[in-house]
């Protein structure tokens, strides 16, 4: 059986996260299955900093690295991949130019192309739906999230990093209706993100939400739980995970 993944962390703000290279090495040693760097920042200086971080991390972390946030074009992606990222994630740039996914998949392979999406529940509860928000969750687009995800996968996205706008930051569990709807919709892996406050939440996203992987930031970042604890908890619940 496929080992499900407990993803390391997202670095939502590099300035506050301490030394990202040290953090990454720490999570690697703790047994993270993958590391995701998000919200790099949109300025050229921020991107240069990130390239440097990725290069350093790739020399000491031997699990997959995904980098995203602020990548606008093929050149931005190429720089990150050459620096040592295994995958790049795009969000706003892909909404503005869906061709970017097709182009990226053709050049780098679809396994490199992660669609990151912030999905917010629509007001009308009868029509169970979610709307795509861009620009770090600040800007509504009027686009139906499920339709967009389907299109993005057709274009070349090889993985979905799915963040619930509603659940993110509340630490009261993932939006598992959303996770399940997306996981059943597409045939590529779905990473659940946003809302983890307890280890049970991770379990729920993988069971109820049928996600292929879970991403958590704050519960690991503030050392409430170690990655090892999370994995042992999931293993005891019957979820296949990699224990070192």
């Amino acid at each position: 059986m496929d080992g499900r993944v407990v993803k390391g962390t997202s670095f939502t703000n590099l300035r506050d996260a301490g030394d990202p290279v040290e953090q990454a090495a720490f999570y690697y040693r703790e047994g993270a299955d993958e590391l995701v760097f998000l919200d790099i920042g949109a300025t050229p200086e921020a991107r240069d900093t990130m390239v440097n971080v990725v290069e350093k991390v790739a020399r000491q972390v031997f699990v997959p690295l995904c980098v995203g946030g602020g990548l606008r074009n093929i050149n931005d992606m190429r720089r990150m991949l050459q620096a040592g990222a295994d995958k790049v994630s795009v969000n706003t740039a892909a909404v503005q130019n869906p061709g970017l996914l097709r182009e990226g998949a053709a050049i780098f392979g679809r396994q490199c192309m992660v669609l990151a999406i912030d999905a917010r529940r629509s007001g009308d509860n009868n029509a169970t739906g979610w709307e795509v928000y861009t620009h770090g969750g600040r800007k509504p687009t009027g686009i139906n999230a499920l339709e967009w995800i389907k299109e993005a996968v057709d274009m070349g996205a090889g993985e979905i990093l799915l963040t619930s706008w509603d659940a993110d930051g509340h630490r009261s569990g993932y939006d598992n209706e959303l996770n399940r709807a997306v996981s059943e919709l597409v045939a590529v892996p779905v990473i659940a993100s946003g809302g983890a406050g307890t280890l049970e939440h991770l379990y729920q996203a993988l069971s109820l939400g049928r996600a292929d992987a879970v991403l958590a930031a704050s519960i690991f970042h503030y050392r409430e739980y170690s990655i090892r604890q999370a994995k042992e908890y999931l293993a005891a619940k019957g979820i296949p995970v990699r224990l070192q």
Partner: protein
Amino acid sequence: MVSIYRIAASNDGERTSLPPLFLTAMNRKSKTIAVINYGAGNLGSVANALAKLGYMPLITSSVPEVLNAHAVFLPGVGAGGDTMQSLEASGMTAAVLKLVELQRPLFTICVGLQVLLSSTEEDGEHKCLGIIPGKVRKLPQGLKIPHMGWNQVRQTINHPVFNGIPDNTYFYFVHSYYANPSDSSSVAGVTEYGIEFCSMLIKGNLFATQFHPEKSGEAGLKMYSNFLKYALS
């Protein structure tokens, strides 16, 4: 674009990292590890893993340099047909065949394993190197494809390359196609994903993994380290 690293491992397995000029004079005593650069693949990750182990691989697109190396890595990411084209265009098809003929230690990864077979059905039928008889087929429908994530490798033979790596250890996979050798004589490991497929091959001094040891944490590093100890001894 690619930085060139120079050598490192000495005969007795002691690791040294010396500046390039000095090493030129040392070549006869030390051993060269080449990572083939054929314009594709994640060679940086493989080189990083080897550097972490204390070796300094030579990343090269030169056929003579590859043929002169004591151990060679062929990285891979992407489609089988494209990879064959890139190998052909860079002259590496003949080089890889020659390495096998010479029984030179060779480690090929992911699509680098797939190209060893007779042919692949990825993007239409493409002829491959034919070193291992058999075909490369698409993973069955029903599970998520690509098969992307950690999965277990059941060791089907005993070999020093598995030293210190327990049976059924998790390794990192990213692929949509799998190798289906026509006989099991070179199969060294298998993995289950919808079906049971060959995830590792060993034939003499030729080693190949469908998974990415360079992205498989400490177990992957251990496998590279075992291979190099075996290859350079």
